[in-house]
């Protein structure tokens, strides 16, 4: 008798120990996962914000001008304009009326022989200084190592960091441009918004239409076949959609609108719309089917027709679910990378119309991260793009969460 009680007691004890162990494993793994996710986000932002302490000219180089030049600093955009010869006079930048003379470092070898430059180019800075001091309109792009420091008649422009307005207000994205990479994110943000918004404009009416059909009009058998089929579509890898877009959609768009190339913002929007449709349809359909039978019966019993019941009762009742569907659809569209990368032509220019190539944020990250030297401004700018994308999707998920939690009886 005692031994059996003893045994039960031991078993209970053992079980409690095991439960404790399992409990702590779960706690620890949960904590580790959360910390890991947090670290990833921190890493993303740390790398991204490094951008704003990166120099606005290529690392290891400086810009020198004549000491009499009144210009004190240049922003990346101005530097690019100067070196592209689009700005040819200092007065355009608020300086004296002097023509700008570009001087690239290699040109020094045209002016001086190797001997004159001394052993291991030790005299190079001095000679550079001479050249610069002679020409009041000159701007020279030289390695910091050979910069003519403390030489009369030469002014080295201070190395400045890329600013927030360079990044967020910049209209050019040319990360490999020298001497100053152009990291203006505006065309990418606008490209993303253009493609996504138009995708939603296409997907919303279609998605709602199909959702209404499935939930209200289709008979049970059709629904049983269609619903899983549509859910399946949501699981197709996006590269497959991209391939389809490239092979089928691009030529169609090109022919239909008689364009030079078929890879346009519109093509991207269509592909995204197709990809967002399954999400929109399934979530909206679920919301509408959740409209209580009593609501439909109440409406019909008052003499409302089937259609009146759909748009006056079912759709309003499911409004919060439908909005959640839309927001989820947008979320999918904005974050989508591969398919868009494949069909939008990837021209990082300010979008002017739907019929031009554009480039989205995710596509940019995917296409460029491999070739951006780690730690450089370009690399950091891509991380910053990641931060932007993260914030956008975060806002969207929070919105979706808030909307779908809203009670159906509120706000009507």
């Amino acid at each position: 008798m005692t031994s059996s009680t003893d045994y039960t007691y031991k078993m209970k004890h053992l079980r409690r120990i095991i439960e404790r162990i399992v409990e702590s494993i779960l706690t620890v793994s949960g904590a580790i996962t959360s910390i890991a996710i947090l670290l990833i986000v921190v890493f993303l932002f740390k790398e991204g914000f490094g951008l704003f302490s990166s120099p606005s000219v290529e690392k290891g180089y400086v810009l020198c001008v004549n000491a009499d030049n009144t210009i004190e600093h240049l922003n990346p955009y101005q530097i690019k304009k100067i070196f592209d010869s689009e700005i040819e006079n200092w007065k355009e930048l608020g300086g004296a009326d002097e023509a700008i003379a570009l001087f690239r470092f290699e040109e020094i070898f045209n002016h001086y022989s190797d001997e004159e430059l001394g052993e291991e180019y030790s005299l190079l800075p001095e000679k550079l200084g001479e050249v610069i001091a002679q020409n009041i309109g000159i701007i020279a792009f030289v390695p910091e190592k050979y910069a003519p420091k403390d030489i009369n008649g030469v002014k080295i422009l201070p190395i400045e960091s890329i600013t927030l307005s360079d990044f967020f207000g910049g209209k050019e994205w040319m990360p490999t441009s020298t001497p100053s990479p152009q990291l203006g994110v505006l065309p990418l943000i606008l490209g993303t918004l253009l493609v996504s918004i138009f995708a939603i404009i296409i997907a919303l009416p279609l998605g709602l239409g199909v959702a209404i059909y499935l939930s209200e009009l289709a008979d049970e058998r059709t629904r049983k076949i269609l619903k899983p089929a549509i859910e399946l579509l949501a699981g197709i890898p996006s590269v497959v959609y991209g391939f389809f877009g490239l092979v089928v959609l691009v030529p169609i768009v090109q022919k239909t609108f008689d364009l030079a190339v078929g890879e346009t913002a519109l093509t991207g929007s269509i592909i995204l719309a197709i990809m967002a449709l399954p999400t929109i349809i399934t979530v909206a359909e679920d919301a509408m089917r959740n409209t209580p039978r009593a609501m439909r019966e109440a409406s019909l019993a008052l003499g409302a027709t089937h259609w009146q019941t759909i748009y006056k009762v079912v759709v309003p009742y499911a409004a919060s679910g439908i909005s959640a569907a839309v927001v989820l659809g947008i979320g999918r569209a904005i974050g989508e990378t591969m398919a868009v990368l494949m069909v939008t032509g990837n021209a990082a220019v300010m979008p002017h119309s739907l019929f031009e190539p554009v480039r989205t944020i995710p596509a940019t990250i995917a296409a460029e991260l491999g070739e951006a030297p780690s730690g450089g401004a370009h690399y950091q700018a891509l991380f910053m793009l990641g931060c932007i994308l993260f914030l956008i999707t975060l806002i969207i998920s929070i919105t979706a969460e808030v909307i779908s939690k809203r009670q159906p009886n509120k706000g009507l």
């Binding site: 008979d219 049970e220 209580p292 009593a294 609501m295 439909r296 019966e297 109440a298 409406s299 019909l300 019993a301 008052l302 003499g303 409302a304 027709t305 009146q308 006056k312 009762v313 309003p316 009742y317 159906p408 009886n409 509120k410 009507l412």
Partner: protein
Amino acid sequence: MIEAKNIDFYYGDFHALKNISMAMEANTVTAFIGPSGCGKSTFLRLFNRMNDLIDGTRLTGECLVDGQNIYSKSIHVDELRKKIGMVFQKANPFPKSIFENVAYGLRVNNMGDKSFIRQRVEESLAAAALWDEVKDKLKKSAFELSGGQQQRLCIARALAVSPSILLMDEPASALDPISTSKIEELIHSLKKDYTIVIVTHNMQQAARVSDKTGFFMLGDLIEFSDTKKMFLSPEKEQTQNYITGRFG
């Protein structure tokens, strides 16, 4: 005047109503009683064709309203339902304002302009003995009302489109005694204008509100007679047993 002739009704293979015939006169209250699952709701829902919404059902026999077979092809179901209002077991107001709930039927049937709708909403709420309680908060959500008020709102909503018949499926079963007695009073006052058919599992209620009572069991109409007679001296033994609470 409602008349059912030799009604048989099936949910798939399930024979829910068996050869039922009865007539309900205008401006009377007819109550259906019987143990749950005996087919009262099914029978009631035949008259506004609510059972049409359920797949796989089958009906034989005739349902006549004012002499017209409501299942004939020439009948427009939404017109029919406008003429035959229904109040459900559980109050089911729309997630709209009190006003919009009552106005709903008027709007979907394109009945009248703004001022007519206003007037009709007030009349209906008054007829449902709810006007005084809600006249200051017509714009408020219907969900802010109590359960009993919601049910009276549903009655007002049904009355708004001026039906001639009112079908009520256990309208007070989810309500407290005070709300229940309000609904019963309401039924009394509506009787002069409407033909009312009410399903109830509460025999006292049937006795209080109805002129005639039908007793259903397992899909059969066991007995149908004047309420007084039914409760004082039922003809059938089953009815007697049910009324005296020996089963059910």
